[in-house]
Symmetry: C2
Subunit: 342 residues, 2 copies
Amino acid sequence: MAVTIREIAEKAGVSRGTVDRALHNREGVNPDVARRIKEIAASMEYLPNTAARALSLHKEPKKIVFILPDTDSTFFSFIQTGLAKAQEEYREMGTLITAVHMNFRNISAVTEQLDSLMSEGIAGLIITGPDVPELREKLNSMAEKGIPFITYNSDIQSDKGLCYVGQDLYKGGKVAADLMHKLTPCPSLVLAVAGKSDFKAHTERITGFVDGMKEYSKDYDIRIIEGYNPYKRDTFSAVLADPEVKQHVKGIFISTGKVAATMEAVKQSGLLGKVRVICNDEIPEVIKGLKKGYIDFTICQDPVNQGYLPVKIMVQHLMGHPSTPDKWIKSPVEIKTVHNID
Amino acid sequence: MAVTIREIAEKAGVSRGTVDRALHNREGVNPDVARRIKEIAASMEYLPNTAARALSLHKEPKKIVFILPDTDSTFFSFIQTGLAKAQEEYREMGTLITAVHMNFRNISAVTEQLDSLMSEGIAGLIITGPDVPELREKLNSMAEKGIPFITYNSDIQSDKGLCYVGQDLYKGGKVAADLMHKLTPCPSLVLAVAGKSDFKAHTERITGFVDGMKEYSKDYDIRIIEGYNPYKRDTFSAVLADPEVKQHVKGIFISTGKVAATMEAVKQSGLLGKVRVICNDEIPEVIKGLKKGYIDFTICQDPVNQGYLPVKIMVQHLMGHPSTPDKWIKSPVEIKTVHNID
DNA sequence: ATGAAAGCGCTAACAT
DNA sequence: ATGTTAGCGCTTTCAT
């Protein structure tokens, strides 16, 4: 049978209340006594009973807030599916998980909302967003006040966070290169469509892709097409208007969400089906292209688990799970074709 | 605040004990009263508190037995990783999960061992194994005695099981065909290496593969090579000895675990790297081939989750989770190259 | 600073 | 057939 605080109390010659206070570093306990209690607990390999803890906290559950962008997107709806799964699974387990939507184009509004969440009293935060100083500093200051945070999907660089749940985008680009190499003949022209260069997700993928292609052969002619904001079809059409490009291009890697615009330009130039296309994520335009046979592969990152895992980790952390998670929980690099999309 | 048995008891004008008995269909409660209690519980949308239930069952946890084949294999070591994860996660949650190894080449010994588990008293069973009548009947009789069972990896056909966790092998074969089509020119010879035809896993994959290839084009010449037991390298070498085969073969799909023998024959005939190869699972020989560039893809089924999910579902079932799981929890069809193997 | 005790929701043993 | 009650391990409030 597992060790309980009662047994620790007996061994230490104190009451159960004191053991609880000591193990949770609550104030009002003699430092020497506290140290001794912790030693005894460690020597007995004490592990708290999760069920008992959850039941005891039932009246005032610890509040976990999950921040989502306020924009509608298929990608984030997958994340919400994972969140919902976690909410259902950790119902009445000593925690209360709430979703809050925020507009990340207005960072000062975001930090204000975080402040008001702090004053309402929360136990943990799960967040995504741009890696900008204001947000980073706000999160660091929260962490210093004892509120742990987890980032998901897109990291906010900080060593104060509990962990980051998201894909290794560089590796994703390499996998794309691997596939492109398998699909295209070797001396040939391959285009890589990049997004805004200040959005990390896209540049890392492109770098991985280019590095990967070059590893296969120096003879690939890789041309990077910068995306603009708003990305205009004309940008890509202009590139394909060059007859030389049109003649030699054999593959296109679209690292951004601007799939529809790019595919439209491909269609206009009569290259549909003649050029191999690799995209990212399971968004509707990509699924459409896969079904029509115009897109060959899409590289996914299991967004459902990007919603589920951060909650699971936060719950375990707050409920006294002994081990600290890895700093980076890597989402898988999933290769999908029309036959294994969900 | 959530509804508790206490509130149901008050509303029904009975004691909490009676509510507990009624909701769990225990004997010794007036049928009319029981029905009324259930109605009230449903109308109040009562959901049992998992933490309280777990804590209360702490002294005599429900025993869940996870059956594993007694053979060493990398594939099953992944399944054990998932099992270990679940054991750690559901520690002290009212259940006790134990692994038991059995030798499936001796079915009568297996049924005897199941009988003795029954007499020791278990609450749930998780099992894989050959789909033979003796085993099927034993499981059905256990289910009738109230012991739920879940099958994983390879199904044992029975409508009495709680669910089956495993891959859609036919779909896996189709995905392999999709990839093979992308890798090989169209009129060409493609070999499909099948295992013993009485092992369902292999025949279903082969059928999916052949169907898939035929959908892409009637011009593929697909030749199925039957595996023997023990599979001899000569079997495959003999096929490749035919100069016509050797000249025209462009792709090989290996649905079995006999990768080493097949690859050795490919090497002997000087086709290494000249022929596209697709395999299944992340076993050492396959990883070796991927790294050397002799194997292009391997199609996996997330074995870690095949160990983890059955336990999770069984725990939730025994701990009174209201919803019944889908009859078939499909493992993903994962496409892996050397760049996204773990 | 520490001890004592009540209570979280559920189960099971005991009492009626 | 049904009611009553102790107790699972932990947290927290109230005494001391």
